[in-house]
Symmetry: C2
Subunit: 140 residues, 2 copies
DNA sequence: ATCATTGCAAACACTTTGCATACGC
DNA sequence: GCGTATGCAAAGTGTTTGCAATGAT
């Protein structure tokens, strides 16, 4: 498992240091879109020497190489997602949870269509769809 | 013009103070999605007594009442848009400009469809679509 | 006179930076 | 031994908060 991740990092041209592998592993195992702070607070239990700077460095490296995507919905927090495939997000304004949303095919088609027409003028590298509201659990 | 804006504020239950009207007016006249800081830097030329706190207070009040929408794409800046209708945004990663994007009808339909299905479980109050890339001017 | 808005300064949270140290090949 | 990753502390940025002053009715 760790070796697999190591290989993935190498393939992307990232030197697979111990910390980088572990942080990437954490993300793959925790798909609830943690913030840098959550990752730090969690991981320091296992790796007490880990510093927040390393977290930030690594997250920047990983997302720079396209291994993870960064999600900005609320202003005051960036979240990270190891799933870089096309999908949407839903943020509950009450509990703060961030859910992955499977986009319906019409929406996916619409996105491609829209991107195609935008590509006439601009170069598009990324697209995001997100929703806000109150989640199932919080509706009461 | 100012009277119109005043009326709009009143209709939303916002006490139409001079500063609030002026800030709202600024947003209506500057649809390039300014940040709080840009608004402040610009407006202080006309209203030297204006403070940043008032900008923040007013922006929060206006967006809380649904008069403007706040756009979070990059982590370190919130931008404000007086156009609350359904449309997308495109952020140029090079020059930082934020463009309004007209969404194609397939995409709009896909959004409604997706929201409808989400509404089975959650309550959806807001949706956003945005793109990132390099804009026409920056492509060279 | 009362109540809400305003403005300053300090506090805050998150992230980045500079630089010295430690690690791995 | 060299080059890169790491870690600490400090600086930076954008935003919020507490509280006193101001303003409007």
């Amino acid at each position: 498992m760790l070796d697999d991740l190591k290989t993935i990092l190498e393939q992307k041209g990232i030197i697979p240091s111990y910390h980088r592998i572990k942080i990437y592993e954490y993300l793959v195992n925790n798909k609830d879109h943690p913030t840098a702070d959550i990752i730090y607070t969690d991981m320091i239990k296992q790796i007490p020497t880990l510093s927040k700077t390393t977290i930030y460095n690594t997250l920047k490296t990983l997302s720079g190489k396209g291994l993870i995507s960064s999600i900005t919905i609320e202003d005051n927090e960036v979240r990270f997602d190891p799933d870089t495939g096309l999908h949407g997000h839903f943020k509950c304004l009450r509990c703060g949870n961030l859910y992955d949303i499977e986009l319906c095919s019409t929406l996916k088609n619409g996105l491609s269509e829209c991107i195609n027409s935008l590509e006439m003028e601009h170069r598009i590298t990324d697209s995001q769809v997100y929703f806000k509201g109150i989640c199932k659990k919080c509706r009461t």
